[in-house]
Point group: C2
Chain length 446, copies 2
């Protein structure tokens, strides 16, 4: 069983519900929407991501012989259900915001239209994929706003990301949001994302002498010489960089950068810049890492720290200040009839919805949440991306998705480009949608 493609990476209740749907012959079309109920305290907007990952999963979603034998062996499912699963293919239509699109609370990001058991069965993995990539792209977008084109950003988070897939997909989501690349090698191999990285402290420590380590590393990697200078003492490390640089110059090797990974990055970067410049190494860049987030990046750059690039790791790949989103995947229509739930604090807005975005000049100023067929001023954000189980040609090149995301960030209202909590972006519900909701509630007697 392959963890990434297995339809068994699901909640048990999907299978028990399917047992009901199959027994009761409930195969009419259902409409589900994925959205985020409310933004975390520290987020003024979110960024769509994960769609391509999801569509690829859905196109290949099959039960293998081994999986079917396991299911049969549990004794929990009828022959009818097992037969259904054996021939399962996702055959639905999907409408979605393109990856990289900025969105807000209660706005459908993805809408699924498929026979009820299919739309139900995909729920767990759909949320698992979209939630994570959106979470990380949204956090990364804040780092990109903080760096504001004055420093390069690289994802360093794979080691403390939550498991293998989180490590890999964080590289994807951060690249979409505007990072230059990642340290994760597999992200280059699978997605073509640029990779960065040079040495750890252990490399220095394993050598008898820091200078010897610098020289050994540079000779082994002559095109990629970034020296880590804080293993023992940063100032001494900076001076040894000059020494190494002189020796290496004679061999035709250039030191490109140094890295700082601890201490007061503001003071140290200033000191190191002075030492390097004094040694004639004005072209050698300073790269910083260690416990960074968007706030520290902005603070360092605003105060004028001479840092050319940042490696952002743990706090990015775990979205440390908001490690989850209140997202939901909810039934909006079944068999042509709108549906809703009224659970306290978790009520839904029924019907097939569309988001219309209004602009003033290049700046987004207001979103209207309405029904799909409604005529509303503004640009509709959801587009068809899958037709009867097959991907529709769309933007799938990561570079193009990243360009779209960049445009989105520049069209944010100025107050949302700040990192601070700010008045929420206006999202209003259209009269048509409002009426449907009230009618439904009256009908249900609630």
């Amino acid at each position: 069983m392959n963890l990434l493609t297995s339809p068994l990476l699901t909640d048990l209740y999907q299978l028990t519900m399917l047992q009901g749907y199959v027994d009761e012959d409930m195969h009419e079309d259902a409409v589900f929407e994925f959205y985020v109920r409310n933004l975390p305290e520290n987020r003024g907007f979110l960024m769509a991501a994960g769609l391509e990952t999801l569509l690829t999963f859905l196109e290949g979603m099959r039960f293998s012989g081994e999986e079917l034998r396991y299911l049969e062996g549990t004794g929990r499912y009828s022959k009818g259900l097992l037969d259904y699963l054996a021939s399962f293919r996702f055959s639905g239509d999907i409408y979605a915001m393109p990856e990289g699109t900025v969105f807000f609370e209660n706005e459908p990001v993805v809408r699924i239209v498929a026979p009820l058991p299919e739309a139900q069965l995909i729920e767990t993995r759909l949320i698992n994929i979209l939630h994570f990539e959106i979470l990380i792209a949204s956090k990364a977008a804040r780092c990109v706003l903080a760096a504001a084109d004055s420093a390069m950003l690289v994802d360093f988070g794979v080691r403390r990301a939550h498991g293998a897939e989180a490590g890999l997909l964080a590289a994807r989501a951060t690249y979409i949001a505007g990072f230059a690349g990642t340290s994760t090698v597999l992200a280059e191999a699978l997605f073509g994302i640029p990779v960065f990285g040079t040495m750890a402290h252990s490399y220095i420590e394993a050598h008898e002498d820091e200078l010897e380590a610098f020289l050994g590393f540079a000779r082994a990697n002559p095109d990629n010489v970034t020296l880590l200078i804080d293993t023992y003492d940063v100032h001494r490390g900076a001076k040894k960089t000059i020494e190494a640089s002189r020796i290496l110059a004679g061999e035709g090797i250039k030191v490109r950068a140094i890295r700082l990974d601890s201490g007061d990055l503001f003071t140290l970067s200033k000191d190191v810049r002075k030492i390097l410049d004094g040694g004639g190494l004005t072209a050698v860049q300073i790269f910083a890492s260690g416990n960074l987030d968007e706030h520290i990046i902005r603070e360092l750059l605003v105060r004028g720290a001479p840092i050319d690039g940042f490696g952002v790791g743990t706090k990015l790949d775990t979205s440390e200040d908001a490690p989850y989103l209140e997202c939901a995947y909810k039934l909006m229509e079944y068999s042509g009839k709108p549906r809703f739930k009224k659970s306290q604090g978790k009520a839904t807005v029924p019907g097939r919805k569309q988001v219309f975005r209004q602009f003033e000049g290049q700046t987004m100023v207001r979103d209207i949440l309405s029904l799909e067929g409604d005529v509303v001023e503004g640009k509709p954000l959801l587009k068809k991306v899958m037709n009867r189980g097959k991907k529709v040609a769309g933007v799938t090149v990561l570079k193009d998705i990243a360009s779209h995301a960049r445009m989105q960030l520049t069209s944010l209202p100025p107050h949302l480009q700040s990192l601070l909590t700010s008045p929420p972006y206006p999202v209003t519900i259209s009269p048509a949608l409002s009426k449907l909701k009230k009618d439904m509630e009256r009908q249900a007697g609630v």
Copy 2:
């Protein structure tokens, strides 16, 4: 390339360092230790987990032809390094605390002894696996302490876990810590962990009527009837449960439980218990879910909420209040010589270390951090688990690991069984280790 087994799920710097080690012929044995620098604010102890996952990964760690071709295609690596990688096998020894063991800051949980390039290359994925399972087992252990045997706990977090592997391994880590099971089907298929789950709100909504949904579900799943009663109105849902129960009794089907997923769980569970008891359903259990964590569980149980089981999801599987640990994997010795780094706030303690735990009666009272060969009173916690790249027979049955964890929790000092911040557990450094550290620092002139 298989994400879970690929040696390319690593940081680029592991490969650039290996280029150096291979060029410089640095193949002597290195000793690395994995530990947590400081506990998060909300954790008085941590729980070891992930070891079996790690050992399985290391035993199978190979570069495939496809991976080697990709590496060669980048033009970054020498023929010598590519040859080294093509024949790579992990051949080291590993010492570790058994999974389920409670541990504290700066204590080595896993120690690797292997030729330097091997010990270095495994770093990223080793941290990625151990960090996550420890993170989740430690959070789950707090939920187990909160439930204190008066309610059953089930992991519901797969959908908002960070990616596929996090979803699967969270089921494993929470089961180790004392959960009864998980909703994640694949965890049953792969690990034999008990699975739980019944229906979502969409199931109720897709039916024209709540009662009809209850009956349809129960008939399709006669051995596993838990009804979700908060889709429209909890009190009405409880009454319909009685109605459904009467009809189903005639068909030989028993309702086993109801689930509440929203609102004020204390008041609602009291109300529902009264309604069910009034209808003769005293044996029907109440199961609660929705935004739970250890604090809410303890609060509900202390106040006497009649809840028999909890589904704990998002806040558990993301370790929401502490989504990462300050863990490290550091070089302690190379070629028979202790090594250390002095980076600000990240200095290491050199040498091959062992943790000795002292008890008073059944209660752990003090840990001594010392060198491996040192004679110190107490029970040594690290044991050999891998010999020359092969697993040594040990405890690998999940049930047995869970029993060990249970014993560990009962031997915690009482103040650490509380959920509140408490005085730290005493971990002291032995004189021998202290002396080595000072000697090293003097030698390095720092």
